[in-house]
């Protein structure tokens, strides 16, 4: 038995014994996810047990070093953990911008003190983060941010406005891009800072999207005091941190195309439309489109896996994240168009128990943001053309 086989056997046994029954099966909606934080909400008490157990092993961030609370697993071990979790349909114990986005940036750019302070809390799901990037005047042109941080010796005073801040109204802390040098060229005057959302002068306002309620907020800073110890990376070089983190965000958004979530599309369709005598979806044109999409989805999952292997082998081009983000978000939009077609008129219901509050339609509309948030599809294509294809003038 190889070490990896032994690890698989141990992992399988541990998961069987420790993953509560309530935490197995598809996650149907955002409300069923555990986001952790000071005011953590759990769909069932078992979900807290599950988070605590996984957090204690560092398996909410399997590949982070153990010294910061992570699982310390190798890439191959992490894949085993992942496949063993999938085998029993175990839900992710924690959904976390800390794990997906900030953590990797702190590991790369943070001081030892910052890593010690924030990473273990993130792993255990004790702190919930939001991201202060976009502003009303800085969307695709993110480096045009205007939120100002004025130097006051040992701290800054921050003034400005962020927009599309996911879960700002529920987050404990924010990682935020602020302009620390208004005179410098736009990419060279930005710093990456962390602060508590409970600080005086921070306020949020939810944004209603075409899908109805949304996690997005507008976030306002009115003379907010930020300690200089909470600067990540070098002063005025926050763009480097931001880009590093964006790569992780893009991979995360791209991964939505990988997850798909819930029941396989073909099953949803046969459930609502029915099958012919041969067991095939009784709507041949739709069946062909779903099959084509599922091939793309399976290929995309392999591309995500390969990208991870390339990172581990030091062969990854950083702009590959743009490719995955572009592809995954477009794929997810396609999936939801097909889900709507599969649901037919049933999927059009907006309210009521039967449609679980118009879940299909709201999810469908929500996916339209996938190719806008974290850099639009067009921005990703620009990045690919410039950095991967070296096309002139790109």
């Amino acid at each position: 038995m190889t070490d990896l086989d032994a690890f698989r056997a141990e992992t399988r046994a541990w998961l069987e014994a420790n993953c509560p029954a309530e935490c197995r099966g598809p996650v149907e909606s955002d409300e069923d996810r555990v986001w952790g934080g000071r005011n953590a909400v759990f769909p069932t008490p078992a979900h807290k047990v599950w988070l605590d157990r996984m957090g204690a092993r560092g398996w909410t961030a399997p590949e982070w070093p153990t010294e910061y609370g992570g699982g310390g697993l190798s890439r191959e071990q992490a894949k085993v953990l992942n496949s063993e979790m999938r085998r029993i349909d175990a839900q992710a114990p924690l959904a976390s911008f800390g794990v997906w986005m900030l953590g990797p940036a702190l590991l790369a750019f943070g001081t030892e003190e910052q890593k010690q302070r924030f990473l273990p809390e993130i792993v255990r799901g004790e702190i919930r983060w939001c991201q202060g990037y976009s502003e009303p005047g800085a969307g695709s042109d993110l480096a045009a941010i205007q939120t100002r941080a004025e130097d006051r010796g040992d701290h800054w005073i921050v003034n400005g406005q962020k927009v599309w801040t996911s879960y700002a109204d529920k987050a404990d802390w924010i990682f935020c891009l602020v302009r620390t040098d208004p005179e410098a060229p736009k990419h060279l005057g930005i710093s990456f800072v962390l602060f508590d959302m409970a600080t005086k002068g921070v306020s949020t306002r939810p944004i209603t999207l075409i899908s109805g309620k949304s996690p997005f907020c507008e976030t306002f800073f009115d003379d907010v005091r930020v300690e200089k110890a909470n600067l990540v990376g070098t002063l005025n070089r926050g763009w480097d941190v931001a880009k590093h983190l964006l790569a992780h965000e893009r991979t995360m958004i791209g991964a939505m195309g990988e997850l798909g979530g819930g029941r396989p599309l073909g099953q949803v369709a046969t459930g609502s439309i029915g099958t012919d005598d041969d067991g095939r979806l009784d709507e041949p044109m739709l069946r062909a489109r779903i099959a084509e999409m599922e091939v793309d989805a399976a290929a995309f999952r392999l591309a995500m896996e390969r990208a991870g292997d390339q990172v581990k082998a030091g062969q990854a081009h950083p702009a590959i994240a743009s490719m995955l983000k572009y592809y995954g978000s477009e794929l997810n939009k396609r999936r939801h168009e097909l889900l709507m077609a599969a649901g037919g008129s049933d999927a059009l219901e907006w309210e009521g128990e039967r449609s679980r509050g118009g879940k299909a339609a709201r999810d469908w509309l929500r996916t339209k943001a996938n190719s806008i948030e974290g850099g639009t599809s067009e921005v990703q294509l620009n990045i690919i053309a410039k950095h991967l294809l070296q096309l002139p003038g790109a």
């Binding site: 191959e76 099959a291 399976a298 290929a299 067009e378 002139p392």
Partner: protein, 372 residues
């Protein structure tokens, strides 16, 4: 298994690319085509494949091969896709060699070393109608004396017109059986089909062809699993060739976009072309991962390997189709000329798409596997 090449596999890739660029670049295909070569394929080149160890990549070492796996076969197939080289590699070195590995000791000893040496060409005859449909094989093999009598018509038989032996898939009483047939046997008629891509295939007609019982490869009625295994490796390799051809057409096009000027600008400066190029790049990367996933799944003997092979063949086929269409379109008028190579890629991709099941065939398998 990581979805990236190991150091040894990378060395094989470099060796294959280097060898083909030197000895069998696209000019080699053009020469065979333009001289109307009777065989359409070079026996000398096939022997050189033997010397280089390319012909017997998947053939066990005791039979003179390299004893390597699907990933290595895919590396070779991708290289052949880049240079559009006509070669018995896929037909003999992958499809037939895989079938023969399931044959008797005598069959293995008779044929595997000769394939590995690039001396023998052995063709696999499966298809009958216009589309790949191994589940609908109508060729029959009836018991006759100590052996069998074969009747039927096969098409799209790779290298069939130059084959030293043909493996025929035929229906027997309770299943499929594979037969090793000498093309010189009475009742075997072989017609070369000159195809759009100037590669090689033939139609094989079998009229009351008598073969001995020892012509059976594997067991009587038990040929389906053996055939399916060979077809799946062949499909994954065809997908790798599609990637090679598609990517080469893409690289050629990117080079053109960086040099061709119109309206006083390099045409690569136009965002209309940049975005299409970036999209195509993304598709090619996804297809590459799918093929690598299929090849590693085959090597690992994964349960769902056949399904991943279908994902790879369908995806690589559609992506290569897009790549060659964009290649011709972005080249403009010169893309339509015979002088430029992009048209040759378009032709080759069309053939590889049809070979061993097109995207529709494999998407159908996907739908079936997912129960809709």
């Amino acid at each position: 298994m990581p979805l990236i090449l190991t150091e040894e596999q990378t060395m094989l890739k470099e060796a294959a690319d280097g060898f083909l660029n030197e000895h069998a670049p696209i000019a080699h295909l053009r020469k065979l085509r333009d001289s109307r070569d009777a065989d359409g394929v070079s026996r000398d080149l096939w022997r050189a494949f033997g010397e280089m160890g390319f012909a017997g990549i998947i053939i066990p070492e005791e039979h003179g091969g390299s004893g390597l796996g699907a990933v290595e076969a895919g590396v070779m197939a991708e290289a052949l896709g880049r240079t559009l080289t006509p070669s018995p590699f896929l037909g003999s070195g992958v499809l037939s060699a895989t079938v023969l590995k399931g044959g008797s000791v005598e069959q293995q000893a008779a044929w595997l070393p000769r394939i590995a040496a690039g001396e023998a060409i052995v063709s696999l005859a499966v298809d009958e109608g216009a589309k790949h449909a191994p589940a609908r094989i109508a060729t029959t093999a009836e018991r006759s004396g100590n052996g069998f009598r074969l009747n039927g018509a096969k098409g799209f038989v790779l290298d069939g017109h130059v084959a030293d032996a043909v493996i025929v898939a035929a229906k027997t009483e309770n299943g499929l059986t594979l037969f090793l047939v000498d093309p010189k046997t009475a009742g075997v008629e072989i017609e070369r089909t000159v195809m759009v891509d100037a590669h090689n295939a033939a139609r094989v007609t079998l009229t009351d062809v008598e073969v001995d019982a020892d012509a059976v490869i594997g067991s009587v009625d038990g040929g389906e699993a053996l055939l399916e295994g060979a077809l799946n490796l062949g499909r994954a390799c065809a997908a790798a060739s599609l990637n090679g051809a598609g990517d080469q057409a893409f690289q050629t096009t990117m080079a053109y976009l960086r040099t061709r000027k119109q309206f006083g600008k390099l045409i690569g400066e136009f965002q209309a072309l940049q975005h299409r190029s970036a999209h195509l790049f993304s598709e090619i990367e996804i297809a590459r991962a799918a093929v690598m996933g299929a090849l590693t799944a085959l090597d690992a003997g994964r349960e769902n390997a056949a399904l991943i092979v279908s994902v790879a063949k369908a995806k690589a086929g559609r992506v290569a189709e897009l790549a060659v269409q964009e290649a011709v379109q972005m080249h403009g008028g010169v893309g339509m000329t015979d002088e430029y190579d992009v048209g040759l890629f378009m032709k080759r991709v069309r053939v590889l798409n049809e070979l061993l099941g097109d995207a529709g065939f494999h998407q159908e398998r996907m739908a079936r596997a997912q129960g809709f």
